[in-house]
Symmetry: C3
């Protein structure tokens, strides 16, 4: 397939920035500083790579004002000066990607099953062996890939992309321009049981999952439906792979979670938060906006002040770890000895006075 | 769809309890104290919500004897007095749910594939694009949703529900009234290899997974088949999402595990245990009945005494954590200094005597 | 189904070893020492089980020279003496397994969908409702089970086995003789976003996943495609279930990871490493060959020296843990008190001199 070429002037028209060089230069993609070819664009988003940028053979370089002043005279290609080169890179890369992506064909694949009462936009794409159950609504521009199962009464907002083998349970709603990666499960029952003399009596999970616009959900990530009320994921949330979100959680807009994070039920998490990989959040707590949790940290209680929070055991060579772990287990005896010493010292002091 | 109404007298007939009020009052569902409408039931399972209960407009309230004595004169609706209001709520909620759930249609969907040698009860439901391989047995009342794959010789016990895109490998057996959520994988090969000069030689995994009655398995949870013997999950076990159970594990009846728990191979876990989210259990160990593991805790060795066990790093503001983590890594030097001080003090004492 | 029988002499011809006993003895499988029947083989791979081996009724025993000298005169069956009995067991067990496994039928199941431009070897097997997209190549001997989705331009190397409901995204490549377990997702987008005033701008993930020969990938494990370059899994790597591998990672040959491990993006991991369950690896770091990480350990930085590394909180009874956790949170105050005491002692010493 021939790669689509783009004029630098066209990038400026779309994404802004100040161009130093000819707007008629044609480029066909974006690549890191050292890999970029002479018909590609590259970008400098960290001043420590200025020397690689200076010697890059890329046709054009996206960079900040400060970096342009430092290396603009050395680098020989065109320059696009912008306050946020990394954001500019992301937008331009997406543009090149869209230009060259295989076009989705509208329509329902003959092997797909669409219930008679479901509504699929004629401008949506439903892949092989996908299943759209009764009453579901698939809006314009939606792409449902192979093997996806959309339950009864589900709504998939315009422009969303569901990769293969995703499952969306009955009555959940997905916003516009969302991306759900393969194997994601939206709306499975929350983990709710009453205990009767040791046995677990199931509490039916009758809430839904409501997902806002522009949310991305990673492969094999699960978001449980609410018990009575709904589980809510606000717009712009980004969840990586293998994440577990319990029932009745509420995750604020533009919060991002790295892989393997777990959130227990009824956690209320603010906007603009970030969670490092494998962070684990207890249920029935509140985390305010702008909280950042380090990887591997268990959050056992509410966090009511923005900032970064951590709590993982520092790695060491096994023998060292073993030594400190033994002492850690007996930390109270260490403290008791210390207290005893303090008393001894005190009595000495008193005696010697 | 019209919501089915139920008389309070009918609830009493089914689930017991002492009714104060008219058995002819009709209700149509169950809701929390503050959300319940005047044709719904609510429940009080924690005395601290007595004031919300008193002012609830619910048509009826499920509550304990003690709570009834406290607020029975204030609350204006009917009351159902029972020793375990939360269990009663679970049962009643399930009843309302079943009444209003869309009825599953018996029969095999025309797009499903059922091998000629498989046996599917005429009173079972097999969804679109489901696959039932050779020799599998699907008993009465089973619901197999879209995209489920049932391997050769598998048995699915009466009344079980397999949500979309579940995979059950060859020869595994699922009990009666089980629920398997979307993406769950039952019977994949255990992780077994012999190491020959650095390379891994696969050990075929020829055991099965045997799952008892009334087990619930969460979305994307995996239970590996045994290496030579079987992996066994006893009746009433409840597993949340994203759990990993290694080969040859044996999990005792009515044990419950929250999301993201991992259990390494050949662990023998007792009955009535609970595991908090992301707890990790080493292999080849024994955990007795009635053990409770806190979230995020790694269990490295057998636990032979009932009780609660914990082991996760306490979360703190990042700067505080960093300070204590540095000291933790050198805990043995702290201890050595303490010992040195003890000696100094001792020598002082002796001198001063 | 009748079980295939094998002569001991045939095992020796295939896998070597020194046979003490008749090569014409026929056996039909392999089993642990105490379970083996008199027409099965067993193996002794740990000297502490010599007494069980001595009294085993197995038709033949695989054991080391040293163990043979210890018990060869007591045990009454045939013996296969080999330097690595456990490896021999693995190979022999695989042989029995292959002999008795149901033969895969070549050909594309009538319910599968294969795009006209895809190339499927006539000696490959494509199961019910599987999907092979445009331009994909399925080599000889490949088995694609039910519900698998193979994206555009994917290559599946000869002899590989893809279990049900696996998803392979566009343009990824899988080597020869690989095994991918159910629900595994290969090539989903890496987690890459630029942040613009709190909002996340997606960076298209245009690299691939390249998987070498003889790799095994567990159920529901995810390997993300690279952002610009590729994610690379070298030959012989073994990944257990529920693992997450971030974009642009490079995992060296014959490295093995137990269940629930997470590896953040751009980690470069050496050959012959092992990772215990739920180990979590930060991104943009290097781990050299022959590094072994204990379960539950978070690796926050590069490891440039082979050896074993650990870092998990030691489990204790809850009350004990709570006590030590409180002290741990205030470890710096403990240290400060110690320093204070040291000074006091020092001033005493000086005074008393």
């Amino acid at each position: 397939m021939e790669v689509q070429r783009v004029k630098l002037g066209d990038l400026i028209d779309r994404f802004g920035g100040h161009l130093i060089g000819s707007p008629d230069i044609e480029v066909c993609g974006i690549a890191p500083l050292v890999d970029a070819k002479d018909d590609q664009v590259s970008f400098l988003s960290n001043a420590k790579f200025r020397s690689e940028a200076s010697s890059s053979i890329a046709a054009a370089l996206i960079l900040s004002e400060a970096d342009d002043q430092a290396i603009g005279q050395i680098y020989t290609g065109a320059r696009i000066v912008t306050p946020h080169p990394y954001v500019y890179f992301a937008r331009a890369a997406q543009h090149f990607f869209d230009l060259n992506a295989p076009k989705e064909e509208f329509g329902v694949h003959p092997t797909a099953f669409v219930h008679a009462s479901a509504s699929v936009s004629p401008r949506a794409s439903v892949g092989p062996h996908a299943v759209i159950e009764a009453g579901a609504v698939i809006e314009e521009g939606v792409v449902v890939r192979a093997g996806v199962v959309i339950g009864r009464g589900v709504v998939i907002g315009a422009g969303s992309l569901l990769h293969s083998n995703v499952t969306v349970y009955d009555y959940c709603e997905i916003g516009k321009r969302c991306i759900l990666h393969a194997g994601a499960v939206i709306g499975a029952d929350g983990f709710g049981f009453a205990n009767e003399q040791g046995k677990w009596i199931k509490i039916p999970q009758t809430g839904r999952v409501l997902i806002g616009d522009d949310v991305e959900i990673g492969a094999n990530t699960c978001i449980d439906r609410g018990a009575l009320a709904d589980t809510i994921i606000e717009e712009g949330v980004k969840l990586d792979n293998q994440i577990q979100i319990g029932h009745n959680c509420h995750i604020g807009a533009h919060t991002a979670m790295a892989g393997c994070v777990g959130v227990a039920g009824s956690a209320k998490i603010g906007k603009y938060c970030t969670f490092g990989g494998a962070a684990m959040i207890a249920g029935h707590l509140t985390i305010v906006d702008h909280v950042h949790i380090s990887p591997g940290t268990l959050v056992p209680r509410s966090i009511l002040e923005p900032g970064q929070y951590s709590g993982f055991y520092p790695m060491a060579k096994h023998a060292e770890w073993e030594k400190s772990a033994v002492i850690l287990r007996n930390l109270s005896s260490l403290r008791d000895k210390l207290r005893h010493l303090e008393k001894s010292i005190k009595s000495f002091s008193e005696k010697s006075l």
